[in-house]
Amino acid sequence: MVRHSVLKYVRVRDYLRSLVTHELAVGDAIPSERLLCERFGVSRMTVRQAVDALVVDGLLEREQGRGTFVAPTKVDLEVRLASFGEDMRRRGMEPSSRVLVAEEIAASSDIADALELLPGELVFYLHRVRYADGVPMAIEQTWLPSRLAPGLFDSGAPDSIYGELRRRGLDPDWGEDTVSATEVDAQDAELLGIRTGRALLCLTRRTFAGDIACSYSRSSYRADRYELWVPLRAPARALTPRAPRDGQVEGTPASGNLNGHRHTETSPTATRTAQ
């Protein structure tokens, strides 16, 4: 059984969430703790927990001695194949970067695997803090095969890696993101101007131009400033083997294919060793 107090807490939190997203404006104060206690018949502690949750989610901001206010809306980041800079400009925000590292290095095993190289092959490595309208938003590490973009860093770190790839006739047209959550460590917290332990959205991305692996990156976005949105569609129809199959031995029941005993198998690759 879920404790009754837990359900009360959820009610207060969800009420505040709706209030913040649909009735109040950025910078507005939320109702006082006393008012919320009375309205929901809960303790001050329950109200504080609910407010805390929304502060952690980045919907509310506490200002010492002044109260709790609606935080600026988060940047909704579509999971799509665009660079940070392109994404920010599309939103009318001015992107900028602080380059921490820009060097050519030998690929470690994991980087080489992601870029379909052999370990030790040369890659360009770029480590940047990304800003939108001067506010730190994300930390990005990017690797790309040196042979795809010779001289990439000759005149300093480029503003846009995708732009540089396109200039060289490589237009990344597909990729994959893996999204996870973590807490920010002390070093990254300082770079992002947030407190240690706050939530981050981590995106690991591989991009390709056709069959060529172009880049691999690991980005950490501030969870208080970002939310991801992902367009959805129902999965395509699954393909299933036809039964009975062409070329099957005559007289074998079709079900012979479906129960795992492949007496009629003709393909050498599917031969199962005797058990």
Binding site: G210, P235, A238, L239, S267, T269, A270
Partner: protein, 76 residues
């Protein structure tokens, strides 16, 4: 058609397939015996990654997934 045939063979042949679901960048397949799946052969057939979890095998193929799905349907 050749790539689809190679992928199918590397998945253990038609008889090893329960189903194959084409996703945006991957072929997600449920197989009868994951032991028959040849990861090196999948990579040689152009896969950009292979993830096996139990009887589910995901093959990263990129945007050719639609063409491959059409070809696979022919072969299955």
């Amino acid at each position: 058609m050749n790539q689809a045939a190679n992928i199918l063979a590397a998945l253990g042949g038609v008889a090893n397939i329960i189903d194959i679901e084409p996703c945006t960048t991957r072929l997600r397949s449920e197989v009868r015996d994951p032991g028959l799946v040849d990861v090196a052969a999948l990579r040689a057939a152009g896969a950009h990654g292979v993830m096996i979890s139990g009887r589910v095998v995901q093959v990263v193929v990129g945007l050719s997934v639609d063409t491959l799905a059409t070809d696979l349907e022919e072969l299955m």
